[in-house]
Amino acid sequence: MIRTLFRSRSRKIYDFHGGIHPPERKDLSNGTAIAAGPLPSQLILPLNMHIGAPAKPLVEPGERVLKGQMIAEPSGAVSAAIHAPTSGTVSAIGPRAIQHPSGMDAICIVIDTDGKDEWIERAGVADYTELSPGELVDTIRHAGIAGMGGAGFPTSIKVNLGDHQRVEELVINAVECEPYITADDRLMRERAAEIIAGIHILQYLLNPRRTLIGIEDNKPDAISAIKRACKGCDIEVRVVPTKYPSGGEKQLIQLLTGKEVKSGQLPAQVGVVCQNVGTAYAIKRAVIDGEPLLSRVTTLTGEGVRQPGNFEVLLGTPIRDLLVHGGVDPDNIGRLVMGGPMMGFTLHNPAVPVVKTTNCIIAATLEELPEPPPEQPCIRCGSCADVCPANLLPQQLYWHAKNDDLEKAQHHNLMDCIECGACAYVCPSHIPLVQYYRYAKAEVRQQAADQVKADKARQRFEARQARIDAEKAEKEARRQARLEANRKKKTETASAPTVDTAALKQASLEASKAYKAAVKAAKAAEADNADNLDALKADVDRLKAIADKAKAAVRDAKEAGPAAAPAEDIVGKLKKQVGDASSAYKTAVKAAKDAEANGDDNAAELRAKADELKAAADKLKAELRDAKANAPATPATAPQVDPVADLKKQVGDVSSAYKAAVKAAKEAEENGADNAAELRSQADELKAKADQLKADLRDAKANAPATPAPAPAAAPADPLADLKKKVGEVSSAYKAAVKAAKEADENGADNAAELCAEADRLKAEADHWKAELREAKASAPAPAAPKTPPAPTDTPKAPETEAPQALTAVDPEVAAKRQKRLKALKTAYNMAHKQYKEAHAALERGERNGDIPAEELNAMQQKVDKLKGKADVARDALDALVEEAKADIRAHTGKDLKTLKLEAARAESALADKQRELEQQRDSASEDTLEALSSELQALEAEAQIARKALKQAVEEQGLQD
């Protein structure tokens, strides 16, 4: 009795809330047996026929595949394999339209079938119990089985639950509640035994306490077939009343077990696993027959189909082929639906393929599935809430979804909606409720994805910010450390005056002189109505700025260094007086000149005044000289640094003055100004000065300590380098000046003499600074170094024996040889010189320290002498070779190196001038003129190139680049 009670209780069919009874229309297609589908010429297999990660293709286009061959393997945990449904050739792997309501493309493997239907070797297992559950799961995974009911969740995941989860009930879903669809019905009627075999495999895998098959009572034939097939085994067949959507997973579980799967839960969490009957069939085929999932039973139905029925369709078969196979004109369908009419979607493109989840294709007439009527306002009738199988409030969800109030929609459990369409079916206002929910769900998912992305971006931003801050802090710390070090250094050298006021004054004076010269040139040009007045004036302005700067520097220095020795002050004062006097004199001279030019009467008077001023200036100069001579020697530490720096500065000033002069001269020449000769002489002067500076620099370098100097003496290294640079600048400027002067000469310009004079003045200045530099060098202390530096014992043999041979013609071989020799000689000389210097320094140290015995000192002295001799010999050899090379160039080209250089420079400057002219006239001149100019320009360019090339060749040939 109790047993019967229990039994009847356990067999009880529960109910779920809501549900509808739409017209079933199953009799359209359930009357005929499952027929074979078409064998289309092309199969399209999307890589993502299932839920989860797309499969990874294993084949290449052009590869021949056999039926059942795996063509894409599962990638990741939630994925399923894909197999070739028939034999053929892979023709493409690329985007094709797929079964998706968006109508978007996805990557598919396209197989051109060959009609042979050639199988790959199959390995079925008659007794699956021989396999372990793990092996079985693997078999299912590699057979590509995914939920056949419609969702397409990979079955291997669902049957592999792990040990901690006890399965109470295995529910086989054979309800097939949607209208039209009869695929499972026919499958059960015809292949019940195979389905039961599949269920046994599932039982073996999941070991459930009970196994329930739920079938709707509108399929009596299927019920009896299944009941017959499972006679004698522990599978219970439960007949459920026809109601949509009984086939929903959660609804069926509730119907059969009374268990409610809560919001957000999975069925497995209440101890239930639900599998579709079609999946069970596929599992049987995969495990026992060794046939992977290659085809499925699909219902082709609808009023538009001549012979509706079920077909075993190869996966990847285009819907179009299936329609043609079923006697439908694919281009004349009222409405083509994939899936059932409740949850399916309208297909707009019949080229999409049948996939693992395609259970039904409806080719309906427009009377059958008409155009939906327009949406009307909600009348709040509440019918939707009555039919909702998920116990939701569709009306509320509708309002919130419509107003984009996603938060409230979620509060009303939007995400639990199963999109069954029952609410839309009953809605008297024809509101597409499901679409609203789908839209809202998509928005919610999008927002969640955005939030995840935003969090990631925030993390990355913060990490980057932290990194940048750390880098900044590190930099700042380094900067502070450097600053600290500098401050320390400064305090150490604070005793030495940092600025030589006198030198600054001198610089200022030079600058103002240059400025005045330029003013004069400008004036002269003005008097001659020269064209380049503007350029000259610009020069004047520039020089004035330099002079002002120099003056400002002097002022600053005076303010900063009140502690300077009084003697220096006197000198400075005198210097200033001299400067003032000389400038007064110059102004007077200028005035006199102007007056003379204008033919004024007072010219003679002005001249006399100028003479007077000159005498005064001379006197002051003499005084200054005396004062300088009498001035106490500055502390030894000072000149170490300052003269070099001063020299540098002077060189800079001189070079800038020289450049200005050169420019002025050039322009004057071009304009045929009278003062070209004068300017040229100035340039000459500058050149001489530059030469001297160069010589100075060389000396300074020679005397520079070979070993690293202690902190206070460290400075000269840089000034020396700078000095060298300056000398380079000055010399190049000088060369240009020489060129200008030469040109002026050739043109018979009058200002050549003036140029010469200016150059002389600059030379004198350079001499002065040279002397100072020498002094500084002499007073620089010998560098501290290890007590007994290892004196070089064997010096490389200077290759002076390789006597240079006179060359009459340039033979490339000879030239190459000479180049090599030149290089060798240079290296030898450098080495010899270095050794000599080292030895010399060691000797000096020894002498100063006095802690080395006399004999040793003598030996060292001898060594130094020897090394010096060697270095000298090497130097001589090198010089001889260079001379030879130069002579060779002359012999070869008929010109000497200097001429070549000059030619090249002249061509360049002519080119530049022409370019400027063209630029100026571009706007104003006529087209013909422009053309002529541009052709001239081209010719000049060619010339310049030739000159440049000749020079380069000559230099390179002889290895004289440096």
């Binding site: 017209p23 059958e368 971006a457």
Partner: protein, 194 residues
């Protein structure tokens, strides 16, 4: 009179005790940072684009907390403005996007790699380190990390960076919102009894 004094004394004693407790609690359970800034920051889209005039979303969140208007985030769109209005209880504002129609259309940077000269300028400009590459080597954008902030476009000396609209994929595609009352919803399948 004594009763009054006792009452006053009692109240004073209570005040002192509670004051001490509150003072201790305020020190002990002190909240570091400004939680409202975190809340604002979590509503901002984190594109770090600087269109609000601040160097990143967090600085803007801080500025909003200090009273700046909360409608200056074009990538967030009106939704963000509304969310901030709700959070802060301020007056409703409309988005101040200076007429930029497409400000809240998601975009990502795309480097035309053939034209990239490898100057690393865009790498330095990217606020979320979403560009990889090295000097003199081609750069490329990590699309998943790109916030579409636009900041890399301007520094590129060869103009090889485009802002490309993010195309929906099958994973990100979602159903459209129905056209509304009076329209035929084409996605609905009308099942009728014949």
């Amino acid at each position: 009179m004594t009763a009054v004094l006792i009452a006053v004394a009692a109240l004073l004693a209570l005040a002192a005790v509670f004051g001490a407790v509150l003072g201790f609690a305020s020190e002990k359970f002190k909240v570091e940072g400004d939680p409202i800034v975190d809340q604002i920051d979590s509503l901002l889209p984190q594109t770090q684009c600087g269109q609000c005039g601040h160097p990143g979303c967090r600085p803007y969140a801080e500025a909003i907390a200090e009273g700046e208007e909360h409608n200056r985030c074009p990538p967030g769109g009106q939704d963000t403005v509304d969310a901030l209005t709700d959070l802060l209880g301020r007056d409703e504002l409309t988005l101040d996007d200076e007429g930029a129609e497409d400000a809240d259309i998601p975009k990502v940077a795309y480097i035309r790699e053939d034209e990239c000269i490898g100057c690393t300028k865009c790498i330095q400009a990217c606020p979320v380190d979403a560009i990889v590459g090295a000097a003199k080597l081609m750069h490329t954008v990590i699309v998943d990390e790109c916030t579409g902030c636009d900041l890399c476009v301007e520094p590129c000396p060869v103009d090889c960076i485009d802002m490309v609209e993010v195309q929906p994929t099958l994973q990100t595609w979602g159903w459209n919102r129905p056209a509304g009352i009076g329209q035929r919803p084409d996605s609905r399948i009308e099942v009728v009894n014949l």
